[in-house]
Symmetry: C2
Subunit: 317 residues, 2 copies
């Protein structure tokens, strides 16, 4: 019995609330990529949907709940993808969605948040500054604050990915690690339904707070972050999420920026996918430790595809 | 009652034979792309699978049948995608697959055919030359010749895309037109289950044989082709396929090369998808006739993503 905040029945129930456009995403073997990496590689593709990331699985739950409760507004801080997802899910249910983001977030993400009809407030500083501002904004307006990874719906939404993986035979799943919603959600389902699958979290060396915390089994914060993987660049791990991660992850590894870029390039060349840096973390992890994965079958969750194309082309060129 | 070679019961039955990795592909609205095109645009994504095109829906049927019959070999001519798909489907069932292709086909397609374990024979000349060579090769070896669009399995496989579209509300479907398997297959299902949906076939001006044939209601051939959309560049329409197309298509339009390139660029910028030229024909059709589609909801089938990246970057730059 794995002791976390998650519960399998609730995750199964979540699937009934989430719009089907976000469910049953492609899971397929990429031989060309596997040949390059020296192992069997399957992709779980979370970008072929209206918000181009997995985050709507969670925001569908939150927005449904709020609409049921007759609430009218919701606020979140976002690195960019959660804001789009909440904009989509909230907008379709008549909720006023406010997103607080860093002014340094990718323009593509900010533009799409606005295009979805959400109110966007930008802060100077990083994602943690946006989180602080979102807290005070929600209090001031007396509306629900959605906190990624802390709020169980975000983990349960992500966990539905795990349900879609659990029936397939493979050896390890590589999950981008930021706040921890996806890692704890998918990890919990794997450890419950397919305990033989190794759950490996991957974070950039330039934003290592949660990975360090996992290894030291206590919250470790950092002064700053320095990575192109904007989607996972937090500094303050949430204690409850760390506890869950300690219960479900088999490992947490850090990868270099150069490996993330090489991963993006390989995903473009060998799978034809334009992905954001966070989505290349899994491939980066294989690149940095080929021996560990040699001959095994790994699944990499391609978690998001929202990227500024100019920056992307600069990276992969 | 629509008189074609196709039959709805057989198409439903086909779904039970096709590997699920090729079924229930993403169908989702792309608001960013729609805003650029002045209409609602949904994408039916046929590239997120092991062969990166829709063709395996058909080859799964053929290969299953041959395996059941105890046959050991199969030959096809291919512009590149059918060969990969047959390589995948035949390879998994222990069949010896031989693919005949033009030496001018994209290197990426030829490499992947070989990587799938198929025997690849290259001919000087275009796809029609490959077709001729495949006919004699099959006769010589006394093995099944798979003829794209003529052989009903290729149409029935493609038609399963139609089953996945028929439940959704939209106004028109844009289908790349080459030999006609996808257009007749999807078109037949739409006209049977959702007759209000306009079925529009799109072909490059540089390879207009089937479109001209459709308009003149008789087979019209061309001396040559001149298009980057290698997947649809045939010169000799098949009479039986033309008859089916006349029964199910509402229109067939030709688009310029510059529109195909603009379409590929828009799909990259606004949906993050790297597609081959044939997959951009639908967007190209909207670009060339915005008034026709203004305010309507169109579905574009993104039929393939096998493209030489060097050429791709040259086009979309």
């Amino acid at each position: 019995m794995i002791e976390t905040r998650l519960d399998l029945d609730r995750i199964h129930a979540a699937r009934r609330v989430i719009d089907p456009v976000f469910l049953n995403t492609p899971l397929y073997r990429c031989d060309a990529l596997g040949r390059q990496l020296g192992c069997d590689v399957s992709i779980k593709l979370e970008t072929a949907n209206p918000v181009r990331s997995f985050k709507a699985r969670g925001t569908e739950l939150v927005a449904s709940l709020l609409a049921e409760q007759g609430r009218t507004g919701v606020v979140c801080a976002s690195a960019g993808n959660l804001g789009q997802a909440l904009g989509w899910s909230g907008g379709r249910r008549g909720l006023d969605v406010t997103v607080v983001a860093s002014r340094r977030a990718p323009v593509a993400k900010l533009d799409r948040i606005r295009a979805l009809g959400a109110e966007l407030e930008l802060v100077d500083g990083d994602f943690e500054m946006a989180r602080e501002r979102a807290v005070s904004l929600a209090r001031q307006r007396d509306v629900r604050l959605l906190e990624d990874s802390l709020d169980l719906e975000t983990c349960e939404g992500a966990a539905t990915i795990g349900l879609e993986l659990a029936g397939s035979p493979f050896d390890a799943v590589l999950i981008a690690l930021g706040g921890g919603a996806m890692a704890t959600g998918v990890g919990y389902v794997m450890k419950t339904l397919a305990p033989g699958v190794e759950v490996i979290c991957v974070q950039p060396s330039g934003a290592p707070a949660m990975t360090r915390s996992w290894h030291e089994r206590r919250v470790v914060t950092t002064e700053s972050t320095d990575t192109i993987a904007d989607g996972v660049a937090g500094r303050f791990p949430i204690p409850a999420v760390l506890d869950d991660l300690l219960a479900v992850a088999d490992d947490a590894v850090l990868v270099r920026e150069s490996s993330i870029i090489a991963g993006m390039r390989m995903l473009l060349e060998h799978t034809g996918l334009v992905v954001e840096p966070s989505a290349a973390l899994g491939v980066a992890a294989v690149l940095e430790d080929r021996d560990r994965f040699a001959g095994r079958h790994v699944v990499s969750v391609i978690c998001g595809g929202n990227v500024d194309l100019d920056a992307y082309h600069r990276w992969v060129r």
